[in-house]
């Protein structure tokens, strides 16, 4: 005989609802960000100038654009996971918490999407 409620049995989840998935996603994105962020930092430091022509020429190289896109995607995802935990930990009022969690998603999708679109424009020259 199970002591779990019928609804709990049907949903098949524990009290935390999603167990270890969040923890793993945060760690994997963290590992991916070590080479990506260091590539970005070193690339900027190794450019002879940081003026428009130099920076645009560098980003227009296919490999730079590709890595920059990966950087924006993984960075946005990692920040989303991290700030979610911060909001869940420190915002206790239910409505405020829900509002913040949902609006953060919109901000991340907008910000990340705009960054990726900008890189595509540079790569494809429009």
């Amino acid at each position: 005989m199970s002591l779990r409620s019928p609804l709990g049995q049907v949903l098949g989840t524990g009290s935390a609802k999603d167990g270890t998935a969040h923890w793993w996603a945060q760690r994997l994105s963290a590992v991916a960000l070590i080479p990506l962020t260091l590539w970005f930092l070193f690339s900027l430091l190794l450019l002879p100038e940081l003026d428009y022509v130099t920076v645009r020429t560098w980003l227009a190289v296919p490999m730079s654009g590709f890595l920059a896109m990966l950087l924006v995607v993984v960075l946005t995802y990692h920040a989303y996971l991290g700030t979610n935990v911060v909001v869940e930990d420190y915002v206790h009022a239910h409505a405020a918490k829900l509002f913040l969690l949902l609006s953060l998603r919109f901000v991340y999708v907008l910000c990340g999407g705009a960054g990726i679109f900008a890189i595509m424009r540079i790569a494809f020259g429009s």
Partner: protein
């Protein structure tokens, strides 16, 4: 969901219990990890703005350059450099813990100081390089 609507019988303390810790290197660095993480999340806005300004052409890049090179912009950029380097080093500390390494008291303290001091030194190096190269 239901528990959110029914008021609790007693106001029990909610985790994380920030008020009961004695300040020491362990919890200070943990809090700094979160603070730098939140600061870096705001940095995403700047990163996207910078990328958009490049895509927009020389005029818009100049405007972004002026914003970043202003006194306030420089302070924020130096702050983000430190936040990134600290979050990177301390994050690697966390990853080592996750695979079960570096839990001894001496190792924890040594790696903690390494993360803080390393981030400070590397921030100085990055900005010295930028300054030296005359790229500011």
């Amino acid at each position: 969901m239901i528990s959110d609507r029914t008021p609790p019988a007693r106001n029990r303390p909610l985790s994380p219990h920030l008020g009961i810790y004695r300040w020491q290197i362990g919890n200070s660095l943990s809090i700094l990890h979160r603070l730098t993480g939140v600061a870096l999340a705001f940095g995403l806005l700047a990163l996207s703005y910078w990328l958009i300004s490049i895509a927009g052409g020389e005029q818009s890049y100049r405007a972004a350059e002026r914003a970043f090179a202003s006194p306030a912009g420089m302070v924020v950029l130096v702050g983000w450099t430190f936040a990134f380097l600290y979050h990177l080093l301390n994050g690697m500390r966390h990853l080592f813990w996750d695979i079960g390494l570096g839990f001894e008291r001496r190792q924890r303290h040594a790696s903690g100081w390494l993360a803080v001091l390393g981030a400070l030194v590397l921030t100085a190096c990055v900005w010295a390089l930028l300054w030296h190269g005359g790229r500011l």
